[in-house]
Subunit: 118 residues, 2 copies
DNA sequence: AGGGCATATGCGTGTCAAGGTATATAAGGA
DNA sequence: TCCTTATATACCTTGACACGCATATGCCCT
């Protein structure tokens, strides 16, 4: 599953689909990627459950499926608990990325974290 | 960065380090992985900023660094907003994984669904 | 039916990364 | 100093995969 999102073109496709569903041609056009490449990546994404497609005449409309993303999130969970212990230097980092999100998150996450034992 | 965590052995190492820092020998022993393999993966992880090491006599103690995980989380963020629109059957799933996080997130996120055009 | 558009698939090729084995570096203890 | 432990690196081989190109499949329209 991680191998799927390790491929930059596939991540680009996923990021494109997050706004709304797209046809193969639209993806090809927006990402300036040869059509067989798009189709092949879509196949991989479909078989991995990241996307699904519906038929619209000759076109196929692709859209995201939530499950794999949740699995990634689930894998990330233990590490999230870990890094919330290190909220010092990374506050600045998050500030740069998204000010408002960081602020909200900060108010609701307290730093009660497992310490390194040993 | 995604290529880093795409490798199963590396994910195993990261999961092992989440509890506490470990020496190369401990990782080798616990994961039953040849020592050069461990060292090579640790090198990749170190150069990608996932881990750092301190010297303890002849040993090197490796521990996690938070930054790359935050980046993964940041990449996941837009998709998280997406899948929270599909919160039906997966509610139970998330409940099992992390009760408090899910609840908090849900309160602040609205359901903005892309509509099927056509 | 035939032609054009939209998408999928097959094949050959090059690249890159992981594993195995051997060896190098370095610190500790006798 | 010599030996042992701990970790890192070098070299080679192999397999997976992404790409380009060509072609196949399928639907629409006239």
């Amino acid at each position: 599953m991680f191998e799927i999102i390790a491929e930059p073109n596939r991540r680009a496709i996923l990021s494109l689909l997050v706004s709304s569903q797209q046809s193969v041609g639209e993806i090809e056009r927006r990402l300036r990627m040869p059509q067989p490449t798009v189709s092949k990546h879509l196949r991989v994404l479909r078989e991995a459950g990241f996307v699904e497609s519906t038929v619209d005449a000759q076109r196929r409309l692709y859209r995201l499926k939530p499950e794999p993303f949740q699995e990634v999130d689930a894998w990330l969970a233990p590490f999230r608990r870990f890094w919330s212990a290190h909220v010092d230097a990374l506050e600045r980092h998050l500030d740069r990325i998204d000010q408002s999100t960081r602020t909200k998150r900060k108010t609701k996450e307290k730093t009660t974290r497992p310490k390194p034992r040993k």
